[in-house]
């Protein structure tokens, strides 16, 4: 580019700084920060995963063999907190950081310094959270939902609250950055309705984050003052109401679960058209479905509270509203299937994970629909059926989408192809064992096994053992993932093309592989036919 030549003397402008500390700790580059997020998320995935291994090992057979019940509760609590706030959310932010500027033709994120800060808060937040496990009083053990009065019994309340505040600040800053980038930094010609679905999904998710993270912050602050400053927000003896916490928590919590799935919808909506070599079916319907799911997610929170003794009218309202969500969710699934119909498909690893996403997420949606029926939820609630539900939507939903996205863009990031053979090994092992792990949990729930218990009657023994075996093997399969990534980054000899996949469309494929340190310093000239959604008619 002519532009390059005129700026050659600005060395730092074109290559990454060579000093390790300066490059990674002081980074304001969206690609490096994206990498930091992704590496952090992978690390947390394994820490949270090791907690899950403890849980499944203890539940391998009846009787307590490994840990005390209190420690078991610390494990379930920490597993959820680490996976939600440490693995899934940062992974999506990392993917957004890396790809949103590349997809909309922007040179970087709108607020690069804040970007650095929002990442570097996270290691401190999690160091604080994880350190509680080594404190004399132990870590939080009241569940990730932190219901008082139980959550106030621990000694780690202040640590937990402060860690949650840090995570919240990080998420809000990340969200502000994403909104500012998408709204202000699109290359000329990149109209909103030409943006990739992934970018749309992140735009909407970012608004959800800004709306609900402060609500969570408020809820945990009230816990803190109840514990240490003598308030009685949630203390019935002082005129407060323990159920109030649940309303506030789930007003955050339900949108939160969509924060963890909407970007996944976006990823899958990029990957399936690429490998089907056919444009996404119903682009506008997809965007509209995401927006309506986001809206509905604010008015369904009490479906987590059907058993707290809501008035009849409340139960009915929240049941109907929850059932409504199935409609836009269904539209998305039908559209993915129609995108595949009439295509010319190949099945590389990202496509395999995306297809598994569609099927297994839908199974999670089905159990969601069943849970929405309040009279039946009187049985399902707080049983293993719920555990099965949210692991289908989160593991085979959110996490499979993240893995699919990683394989999809890994060649663009590293400049090398990953090993397709080992990618497929990773896929087949994951998809088999994850079902062995979570499918039997439906049966356990229906048979009456409550969640969050360290030990159980022998009637539940067989399914628990199957589930544990699936768990260990699913966990082990993820080591293949690490191997594939390490190989692709440092050892792979196979150079990636700029347009890595034959059917790939969009601006990110017009830059070299690996993507140079700075891209789109001059806005690209956009040709509609190069975009995935350049000609939107429907």
């Amino acid at each position: 580019m002519a532009h390059d030549a005129t700026h050659d003397h600005h060395d730092d402008h074109h290559g990454a700084p060579s000093n390790f500390f300066v490059r990674w700790c002081m980074s304001t580059n969206h690609k490096d920060i994206g990498t930091l997020y992704l590496v952090f998320s992978l690390l947390m995935f394994f820490i949270g995963g090791s907690f899950a291994m403890v849980i499944r090992a203890e539940l391998f057979k009846p009787g307590l063999q490994l840990v005390q019940p209190y420690f078991f509760n610390e494990m379930t609590t920490m597993h959820a907190l680490v996976m939600i706030f440490g693995a899934v959310m940062p992974a999506f932010v990392g993917l957004g950081n890396w790809m949103i500027p590349l997809m909309i033709g922007a040179p970087d994120m709108a607020l690069p310094r804040m970007n650095n800060l929002s990442f570097w808060i996270l290691p401190f937040a999690f160091a604080l959270l994880l350190s509680t496990l080594f404190l004399p009083g132990g870590g939080p053990a009241g569940g990730w939902t932190m219901y008082p009065p139980l959550s106030l019994q621990g000694d780690s309340v202040a640590y937990l609250v402060f860690a949650v505040h840090l995570m919240g600040i990080s998420s809000i800053m990340g969200a502000i950055n994403i909104i500012a980038t998408i709204l202000n930094m699109r290359a000329p010609g990149m109209d909103l309705l030409k943006m990739p679905v992934f970018v749309w999904s992140w735009l909407i998710t970012a608004f959800l984050l800004i709306a609900v993270m402060p609500v969570l912050a408020g809820a945990v602050t009230m816990l803190l003052t109840d514990k240490y400053f003598g308030t009685s927000f949630f203390n019935a003896a002082g005129g407060g109401d323990p159920v109030l916490f649940q309303h506030i928590f789930w007003f955050f919590g339900h949108p939160e679960v969509y924060i963890m799935i909407l970007p996944a919808f976006g990823l899958v909506s990029e990957i399936i058209p690429t490998f089907a070599r056919k444009p996404i079916f119903g682009y506008k319907a997809m965007v509209f479905a995401i927006a309506s799911i986001a809206f509905l997610s604010f008015i369904v929170w009490a479906h987590h509270m059907f058993a707290v003794g809501l008035p009849l009218g409340g139960e009915i309202f929240f049941m109907y509203a929850t059932m409504l969500i199935a409609v836009p969710t269904g539209v998305k699934v039908f559209n993915w299937v129609s995108t595949m119909w009439g295509g010319s498909m190949t099945f590389e690893t990202p496509m395999l994970f995306a297809i598994a996403f569609v099927i297994l997420f839908t199974i999670g949606g089905f159990s969601g629909l069943m849970l929405a029926l309040a009279p039946a939820d009187f049985q399902y609630h707080d049983s293993y059926f719920v555990v099965a539900h949210f692991h289908y939507v989160l593991v085979t939903g959110a996490i499979f989408a993240i893995i699919a996205g990683t394989y999809y863009w890994l060649p663009k990031w590293t400049g090398h192809m990953y090993s397709e053979f080992w990618g497929k090994m990773h896929f087949w092992n994951s998809v088999v064992w994850v079902n062995v792990l979570f499918f039997p949990q439906h049966f356990l729930g229906l048979a009456g096994m409550p969640r969050r218990i360290p030990d159980y009657n022998v009637a539940f023994a067989n399914f628990n053992m199957i589930s544990s075996i699936g768990g260990f093997l699913f966990g082990a399969s993820q080591l293949i993932f690490v191997g594939v990534i390490i190989h692709a980054v440092w050892f792979s000899k196979k150079k990636a093309l700029d347009r890595v996949w034959e059917g790939a469309k969009g601006l990110e494929w017009t830059v070299p592989s690996p993507a140079p340190f700075h891209t789109f310093e001059l806005p690209p000239v956009i040709h509609d036919e190069e975009l995935a959604h350049g000609h939107v008619e429907d």
Binding site: A236, L312, L324, V331, S338, M340, F347, F366, A376, Q379
Partner: protein, 280 residues
């Protein structure tokens, strides 16, 4: 899911089955279409990508059909909610209080008559409790009553209730939130400190129905089971009379001696871990 053994429990069971059926049918259609697509439209079979990317007719159809299905489901579920919310016409009231980590049952009234001082704590039976200690070396399979494994689902003193009587439960807690769940009754209800929740049941078959606390309540959350022993009305009335006699001993005059010697014997019988009747 269990069909249960109460008047209401089939509602949840029926709804579960209908919803599951709907999901299975939709699943077969959607996944079927996907698999057909994956085989017909592969590049390796020479498939050439088509260009279309929308079809208004189809989109309207697959938005409308789910809406219709949902309306049917919503209609069925609303019926279940209404009957569940209606605690009127009950003939008996039991107060259930959750504590870390045991339940307290107080008999409030029966057939319009207030009951004085009949109430007791109900906690994990001793055998399960010894077995469940970390590395106890005891075998959970060995915890049995009448050949039925009761590991972690047996108590020292069960809740005794009559069959065929609409019983109103008022449910609360003394420390943290618990949840009272007996699958055979078809529902669970949170026990929340400072709040009194109401629910009802009308058990149709005599038997022993077991459940567990369903809301995380601390370290021994997994170890506070619930046992409901449903007995015929006459048997219940006799049991209640015995309990009342025990709780309200007549003035310590001489004629009372006979009844006080008789009472501990019956109390003994119910103190022992519950033996098996019909298992829920």
């Amino acid at each position: 899911m269990t069909r249960g053994a109460s008047e209401w429990s089939p509602e949840a069971y029926f709804l579960n089955n209908v919803a599951l059926g709907v999901c299975v049918v939709i699943g077969i259609l959607v996944f079927g279409a996907m698999f057909i697509a994956m085989f017909r439209f592969r590049k390796s079979r020479g498939a050439v990508a088509e260009k279309w990317s929308h079809n208004t007719m189809l989109e309207i159809v697959w938005t409308t059909i789910p809406v219709i299905i949902l309306i049917v489901l919503a209609y069925l579920a609303t019926g279940g909610l209404r009957t569940f919310a209606d605690t009127t016409g009950s003939e008996m009231t039991v107060k259930v209080t959750g504590y870390q980590w045991k339940w307290r049952y107080d008999y409030v009234d029966y057939k319009g008559k207030a009951i004085e001082k009949v109430g007791f704590m109900s906690k994990l039976d001793r055998e399960s409790d010894e077995t469940r200690q970390l590395n106890s070396g005891l075998d959970p399979n060995a915890v049995q009553v009448d050949g039925y494994n009761t590991y972690l689902i047996n108590v020292d003193k069960p809740l005794v209730v009559p069959v065929g009587v609409k019983i109103r439960f008022v449910i609360t807690a003394g420390d943290v939130i618990h949840s009272w769940w007996v699958p055979a009754l078809g529902w669970k209800m949170d026990a929340i400190p400072g709040i009194v929740n109401a629910a009802w049941t009308n058990i149709t078959e005599p038997g022993v129905y077991r459940g567990q606390c369903a809301e995380l309540c601390g370290q021994d959350h997994g170890f506070m089971p619930i046992v409901v022993k449903a007995v015929p009305k006459e048997e219940f009335e006799k049991w209640l009379a015995d309990q009342q006699a025990q709780a309200n001993p007549p003035a310590p005059a001489a004629p009372a001696a006979a009844s006080t010697t008789a009472a501990p014997a019956t109390a003994q019988a119910t103190d022992a871990p519950v033996s098996q009747g019909h298992q829920g």
